[in-house]
Symmetry: C2
Subunit: 343 residues, 2 copies
Amino acid sequence: MAVNASTHATLADVAREAGVGTTTVSRLINGGHRVSRSTAARVQAAIDRLSFVPNHAARILKGERTRLIAVVVPSVADPFFSGCIEAAQRVARSHHCTTILLTTQNDPELERECIRVLTLHRTEGLLLVPAVSKSSSLLEFFRVSRTPIVCFDRPVFRASVDAVVTDNVRGARMATDHLIQHGYRRILCLGGETQLWTIQQRLRGYRDAMTGAGLDAIENLQVHDYKTAEQIIRNMQGNGMLPDAIFAVKNSITIFVYEVLRKLGLDVSKSIALLGFDDFELAEALGISVVQQPEDKLGEIAAETLFAHINGEIAGRASKRNTTKLMPNLVLRTSCGCPTVQP
Amino acid sequence: MAVNASTHATLADVAREAGVGTTTVSRLINGGHRVSRSTAARVQAAIDRLSFVPNHAARILKGERTRLIAVVVPSVADPFFSGCIEAAQRVARSHHCTTILLTTQNDPELERECIRVLTLHRTEGLLLVPAVSKSSSLLEFFRVSRTPIVCFDRPVFRASVDAVVTDNVRGARMATDHLIQHGYRRILCLGGETQLWTIQQRLRGYRDAMTGAGLDAIENLQVHDYKTAEQIIRNMQGNGMLPDAIFAVKNSITIFVYEVLRKLGLDVSKSIALLGFDDFELAEALGISVVQQPEDKLGEIAAETLFAHINGEIAGRASKRNTTKLMPNLVLRTSCGCPTVQP
DNA sequence: CTGTTAGCGCATTCAT
DNA sequence: ATGAATGCGCTAACAG
């Protein structure tokens, strides 16, 4: 047989093998309409014999859809993002699309490279967590790009693309208000990575709540790792300035703080209350109260919105951008001072 | 301008816009050799004006590399796998390749679908966590596939493809031995998902260690969630049969057990020692001793091996399969009974 | 029902 | 240094 030995079999190979024209083969693999029973069987046999799989590139060149969408996130390892990705993938699969996954590490330079790659591959849509929210180069890309784009987790300022985000302000305010209602007055807010929009929003929520209650905001936004967290709390302890409660603006900080309090022998919720933004696996076991983001909803809605655009169900660029704000959930366990609930 | 309005600009569009032939444009975007200074500038301007990005599909059709590799894992949300993915991606990027990410949920049916998709896209290589280790259809696929494949985390029995795995037997044995050395005699092994190769290996390690020390293995492999874990331990408590120590064969079970012990008021490491397979974020904070898998190494080595194959640096299918076993790390914190270490 | 043919966008001879 | 022509594998329009 004169099959293309070095690489994959082609449609022509199959046609020759089955003794038919290429069109017949093409028709068979595209639904099998207008092909006689017997011919179909013969062609199918040839396909199996040659392990033929159509060349996607050739189809795309003919103008078929690529059925590829790109998901660009800061990191896969972050449980929050991997949760979103999982949900988005599920949606993509339901639309018979495959996902190209790119990571930016929040670096605008890498982000540009990701965009180059996905343009190269002619992805039909882009689900993007922008590295920075204020970016003229992203704005420019949005302007010239002809493929649908949906941002999630963070918006891009002044951009005319849809975005799906959590209401971070509201979440932080709910959390802080709750601590205030418990009667705490000195509520410390611990944070880091303040360049991120999400963090800024949470800070705003915290401040709003404190101000609203006539309390002074106490903040330290230099928490980068366990070490800095320990130092900060030790210092406050040394000065006899320990707070009544701590609001941690993100996942990892909540964990650091919990660890520090434990090491310093401070009983969480007895001596110091703790409430964090973002849930994590062990939080429930440890009774740590948190603001929970609906990550699967985020990924799912973002992806559904994207496909609505792709399928032309939404007016497109002409219309104004539409930001969907998802409400976070205040999950009360015991670290905030709430009583243990007995099931 | 007669530019292809509805879609992306083509090389011909650029050529027309710049008043040159297509060849010249092609040369410019492929290194720019043999193009005069002035022409180059003119063409570049046209490229920018039209936001031209070469059509990858056309290049592939011409025989260029797709520069695409597929990563097929059970789930992205699992921190173990997302760690592997992150590392593999880093390697892929260093080889100028993009990653297509597919998930199987450990379902052989979905796995087949993933393989269809990646064949369609002509990925140059496949990094696979096989849904099941005993699979004739996978074996068949390996046999006919002409693209390099590397399995990781789990092997496929009797397959002639490389695999990179953790030495699970050894890890479990190290863990159990350590508990034995602490003087514990009644060491309970708690597990689930026993259909997975990794779990089976860990069980073997546990049994080897127990048998080797002349102790009776005590196992319950029906732990599926928090509820079952609680029931099992409560039962043992009711019978006065609580063990001295517990070895949890995986991540989530360790967490369940920790949670149960806490709820039952049993002091971990004082009343009952605990040691788990697989590290997790809060384990350090909680002082839970674990067997740590080098996930980034796993992903990295698997990917590097794959690229060695892709780049023809390894003999290929002819040679026997080569399984790389990575040594896990026993990370001793306090839950196993070890003293707190003061830095 | 089935086959022939043109052309998608690009890289690549082979001329000039 | 530059361009015209060819073909990669496939689909679709057009015969038969």
